[in-house]
Symmetry: C2
Subunit: 230 residues, 2 copies
């Protein structure tokens, strides 16, 4: 029997690639996604497609109410920044959601414990990370250490490992790795502000980073853009 | 203006005492409670009373679906252990909820960040802790370290402090401290298995520890027990 792994799956390019890497390492995947007051359900639909593509044993979609905290362009009606170059934009962007990865990972730890599973995969990335503090290697290390002190498994000496295989990769490297593993990026979604048909805006930070990644990777970009963009 | 603090408030004896200590230290309290598929809503009612008694500026009750994880006597229909002496029971009890404090604290970190608040209080206790791994000092320290790496405030050098003032106290010391601060323990609730009118069973680990605490503290026990118990 293959070892189980909990995979945090957003429906975006990074988490789908992370899942393809985990699958390639031989893990049986238990995918977990969150509905957290996003403006659009496109992400959850993309997560469902990715879970199917990755052959996940189970896919849990957890409802959490991050909107009650307000404070982020992704969970309020504040405008999403557009048309800028994210690689030179400084500071933490308006799309930052307070404690988001910490909350997601906490649920993953709970599910891993119930599944008697010792591996969690998260597709965070510190290179093209748009300035989010909870995407850095030192954060991942600190979370893993805390989780091993928090759980029954940890107390019993069964170490929990938090895998972040993309953390040192550029977007182009991520896209090349996923393509080599046969991942269809047409099923993934990255845009912060898609149109009514789920097509990408092409101008938000996430779109800009994604487009540049395909270009640099030399891989055709399968993304559907709104109104003839690209 | 007093400094703000987020207080995790369960409605039990410990978290109410923790709140009284935080209030006594001059903090303006923002109380946070969780509905997480408990068998009874008695806890949330007790949390509301405690928040009122403590003069909390705001009290948020967050719905989270820990029941979807199963695996604990507090969130499934498995029987709550009764009539044993918790101080000699070994191992982690059946009432352990996977990653519970980690999930609760993660929400507290998110709310603290939105409130621009740098202090979180949690009433965990390592002495009469019933064997929960996420009530130990090394867990609290590791969570605080992780939270400071996770957040915008941490990146900007505003340190978040996770206070666990009860962690080294016996139940009797906790009860004496709360009584000295004027806390009415009749408003708190500890029982894992109350009757239909919210009266304590007197026999679960939580009841046994609580009763012994009042006895040792020399403080009259205001708890209402079912069917003429006590």
């Amino acid at each position: 029997m293959p070892d189980k792994a909990v995979l945090l799956l957003s429906g975006g390019l990074d988490s789908a690639t992370c899942g393809a890497i985990a699958k390639n390492r031989g893990f049986a995947l238990y995918a977990m996604s969150f509905r957290y007051g996003q403006r659009h359900a496109v992400e959850v639909d993309a997560a469902r497609r990715a879970a199917g593509f990755l052959g996940a044993i189970e896919h849990r979609i957890v409802d959490i109410d991050l909107r009650s905290f307000g404070h982020s362009a992704l969970t309020t009606d504040a405008p999403v920044p557009k048309g800028r170059d994210p690689s030179v934009a400084s500071g933490i962007p308006a799309t930052y959601v307070p404690a988001r990865n910490t909350i997601f990972l906490s649920y993953a730890v709970g599910w891993a414990e119930v599944l008697d599973c010792r591996d969690i995969f998260i597709g965070v990335n510190a290179v093209d990370y748009s300035g989010y503090p909870d995407c850095r290697p030192e954060y991942i290390d600190a979370f893993e250490r805390m989780a091993n002190l928090a759980t029954r498994a940890g107390v019993e000496g069964k170490k929990l490992t938090l895998h972040a295989p993309l953390i040192g990769m550029t977007k182009a490297e991520i896209i090349r790795a996923g393509s080599a593993l046969g991942l269809d990026y047409g099923t993934t979604h990255s845009c912060y502000d898609p149109d009514g048909e789920g097509r990408a805006c092409g101008a938000c930070d996430s779109c800009v980073i994604r487009r540049r990644g395909f270009l640099e990777a030399g891989v055709p970009d399968p993304t559907k853009y709104a109104e003839g963009r690209q």
